[in-house]
Symmetry: C2
Subunit: 277 residues, 2 copies
């Protein structure tokens, strides 16, 4: 094995949107500065492909995901970024993933939630919702990205969302959860705490997603909902009349789901890691 024993190799794929090569280079620099030779980021070339909206066509994104997932030289899979497109590859890719893929950690959020859900449903044990390399665009000196790295490399407990308290939890972008309910990617939510965040959605849409999600029989069996941050909410005209926490409380009360307060997740630098369990 030699020096490969010392290097923790993280494979990166982009199941949705294309990754800018400049951000990938920046991510490698951050990893090198933080971990030296101990950690290597291996961006699959697929990350930089372009096919309309996506980082390569469905087949290319599927193949890259399966290749990185099954590669025995790679210790963890990190989704480079979200965007949109994971729902187009998840059902094809997941059944092709073998034991090596099951032993790896899988980390990402936003659109990658389609894959996190499907992997968790398929019995993968090391799936987590948390920061991605693309978070470097937040110009936060790599705070979010380093948190993701710290969890992937060392399972650093400081990276974790503080309120998890050992309770089985799942975290999703609210929109993505809504869009995977009723599909083959929908995991069993019974008895699990659900942490939900969103970005760039009008309040009326947040309200509509909460109607949809809290009306679902599977969601109604969850142990409760915690609300992450809803950021970059466009101005509602007229004013919606409720903020996101009032909306979450309203729908939880109406559907009989315990509302368990706020969660420290969101499309921002403070986004913490939530391992699925």
């Amino acid at each position: 094995m030699g020096s490969s024993e010392k290097t923790f190799r993280i494979g990166l794929v982009a199941p949705g949107g294309r990754m800018a090569e400049s951000v990938a280079a920046q991510a490698k620099a951050v990893a090198r500065k933080t971990y030296g030779d101990k950690v290597e980021l291996k961006f699959h070339p697929q990350c930089f492909l372009s096919s309309g909206h996506f980082a390569g066509d469905d087949r290319q994104r599927t193949q890259a995901l399966v290749e990185i997932g099954n590669d025995r030289e790679i210790d963890a899979v990190w989704f480079a970024r979200g965007g949109y497109g994971a729902c187009r590859v998840a059902e094809e890719a997941i059944p092709q993933l073998g034991d090596a893929a099951r032993r790896k950690a899988w980390l990402g959020y936003s659109d990658a939630g389609f894959l996190l859900a499907g992997l968790f449903k398929a019995g993968f044990k090391h799936v987590a919702h948390g920061p991605m390399p693309v978070d470097l665009v937040r110009e936060d000196e790599g705070a979010a990205m380093k948190r993701g790295l710290a969890w992937l490399v060392d399972r650093d407990p400081r990276a974790l969302e503080e309120g998890l308290g050992g309770k089985p939890s799942l975290a999703f972008n609210l929109t993505i959860l809504s869009q995977l309910l009723g599909t083959p990617l929908e995991p069993d939510l019974s008895g699990r705490v659900l942490l939900l965040e969103d970005v760039g959605e009008y309040m009326y849409r947040i309200d509509r997603y909460f109607f949809h999600v809290t009306s679902n029989p599977n969601v109604r069996r969850c142990a409760g909902i915690r609300l992450g941050r809803c950021s970059a909410v466009p101005k509602n005209d007229p004013d919606f009349g409720m903020d996101e926490e009032e909306v979450a409380r309203f729908w939880c009360e109406r559907s009989g789901i315990p509302y368990l307060g706020r969660a420290d997740i969101g499309h921002d630098s403070d986004n913490k890691v939530v391992p699925f369990g």
Copy 2:
């Protein structure tokens, strides 16, 4: 009965957004000019209330809907407009509707689709997707609104979507259908042709809605999908790479649902009536 025998009374409620009084006045003028004393539009005062995003709070919108629905002096219920909010009142209102409500025709589209779905699921026989008075804002000399009226008053066959061919059909806004799947408002879609339209959604969202909708087991039992117009689609950056018909064909093929071509419905003046069956 006297003169009331001659007058067809249409009750109007606004289960989502507020109706402008000026548009209501315009709608009355159009009805009077077209039908004289034969038709009367009765806007419930609830249409003009304002509570944040909505035309009155949930209780006010629910009560107005139930009142107009159960009123034996009223022959049909017309949703004055969409917006957002029908999903907040449907489950509370529908069980309160009695025999008089079941005998009436119910017409609307867009956000009102939540109610159309719930009413159809509850066994209402005269539910239809089609133009509303708010369509007067299209400045089409009332073409869309008059089509809705012609169906409500005379069941004018010229108001109907031309391709229905006697096949049991349902029509929805794609977003609204996505957001009611898995909720108590979801009707049985087995063997029915599904006509879908949308407005103001990015192509990547239309694609995501199609993933969600065509992955649903109930939708997969439908007789096929026909695509209405997707209008006011914001520019996708980068270009999505597929238009809405390619997207519809893609997901229909992938999910084994027959794609049955285009449908003459949409958020526009040409929007035709689709009775639910």
